[in-house]
Symmetry: C2
């Protein structure tokens, strides 16, 4: 095994390396450092192009749609009529692409690292960022998300937190204060969602998300999706809602509204079933 | 990375090695060759003890319950009153342990390789084979499963195929004739299930299982479960039924019957949701 032909991921922040995943590399496209993180883009044989921050895969050409569809359509379909959306992180454009499939009126995208937007436009065309940014309804900001959200009260219908793992530049997005400010920035029917790591190695991250959300939101719910791009693969999205009961979910209504929205992983049935956790996860989360 | 401290899996039969998964090894417990295959047992840091055949992990101490619960309880709960069960393969005892949680009357376990039974009794106590084999209702045979099943007509309520991947000794279990003989060996309400590989790398295996089953069984259904022990992780179980409509699934009835059966992954809700496939799998299976 020649190392140069393989990309081995680093262990996730807060975990000990007990297993290794490596992808056979076709071509190394880009490697550099921004002010905030190490950025790599590689072509692999299995996943197509991959986007790597600080040694951890953030998305692959082959499977990125799973994460991006789930983190976007879960909150946008929980909300009855989402018009104004805030995306925190997500400078690659994947979440934005999905959000724009809905009849929204205004999307704020707040990315800390402007290099991510530049590189995604250039090297990750499947995320469609170039075209998304042409739309007038999209507003791009290069700022720290936890600070940005403080400026708004009763303003957004949905907030989506598409962050990296809880380390370095993402840390403020995992603190209680951020959840409080997100609560305040949402309108009265507002829905919040954050990625919260995988169920196998990052259970404490999910527990923290639940705890932080429960401080402010009356309805909190964890969802799962199979994301082969990520270590652990069974990935969590934790949602909070101010008024809409996330447990009382009318799948028939959703089916009507869903209609012809183009997705590859998400569907009303998957939405429903993503909220069902196996017992041993339920036990872990107690 | 010192190779001796890691166990890297071989690629699955019929796939090209585009990615690698390695587990940090605490101790190598056993390594040897039976008449049919190479057998290894290792202690790992992440998965606990693992059981490896021809370079592929068959089960781990940490997560074996997921596969074993799903492949057992799906057919046993589809069937209204399963009394006589045939397990093909499964010499490690994992499926048997789950089947014995039901009020069954007779279980036939047909394993090709007697070394697996010996080694599991000795090194994999969590599979409980020693105690299972003490029960009078359990009958153990060391034979080729596809040949064994031919001897029975209208005899079993449920057949469970817990095989290795389609290569070498398992090949007869992936042929059309075996499905026909299984159909004939089942009673009129009989239910059949087989492992059929993962959705990412082994889609042709699932398609073959569906095709073979549809030749004989009026009801065929694919289920998924997240199995971290296996490459690809999103794993399939393909079921066939002679009379019971697998789509008309009464979850309320199941909940009553399920009652206090001890499981960690399987539940009536998981049963139901395991039959929901994301769109891109549905497309692949067309």
């Amino acid at each position: 095994m020649k190392r140069k032909n393989w990309f081995f991921e680093k262990e996730l922040p807060g975990t000990i390396q007990k297993y290794k995943i490596g992808w056979r590399v076709k071509k190394r496209i880009f490697s550099g450092k921004s002010k905030y993180q190490k950025i790599e883009i590689l072509d692999t044989f299995d996943l197509g192009r991959i986007f790597v921050l600080d040694g951890i895969i953030q998305l692959s050409e082959k499977y990125e749609f799973i994460y991006h569809e789930m983190i976007s359509h879960l909150p946008l379909f929980y909300h009855p009529n989402p018009k104004r959306i805030l995306i925190i992180g997500g400078g690659d454009g994947g979440v934005l692409r999905e959000v724009l499939k809905h009849p929204v009126e205004e999307v704020f995208l707040v990315e800390l690292d402007s290099r991510i937007v530049e590189l995604s436009k250039k090297y990750l065309p499947f995320l469609n960022l170039k075209n998304s940014l042409k739309q007038k309804k999209v507003k791009l900001f290069f700022e720290e998300g936890a600070t940005f959200v403080k400026r708004f009260k009763n303003f957004f219908d949905v907030i989506i937190v598409d962050s990296t793992d809880p380390a370095g530049p993402s840390l403020p997005l995992f603190q209680k204060r951020f959840y409080q400010n997100s609560f305040l920035a949402l309108k009265k029917e507002g829905v919040f969602i954050t990625q919260s790591g995988n169920f196998l190695d990052q259970i404490s991250e999910i527990k923290t998300a639940i705890k932080n959300l429960k401080n402010f939101f009356p309805y909190v719910k964890v969802h799962r999706a199979f994301t082969p791009d990520y270590q652990g693969s069974d990935f969590s999205f934790t949602g909070g809602s101010k008024k809409i009961n996330l447990e009382k979910f009318d799948i028939k209504k959703l089916k009507k509204r869903f209609n012809k929205l183009m997705t590859k992983y998400y569907s009303p049935e998957i939405h429903w079933s993503s909220g069902i956790l196996p017992k041993f996860y339920q036990e872990k989360l107690k």
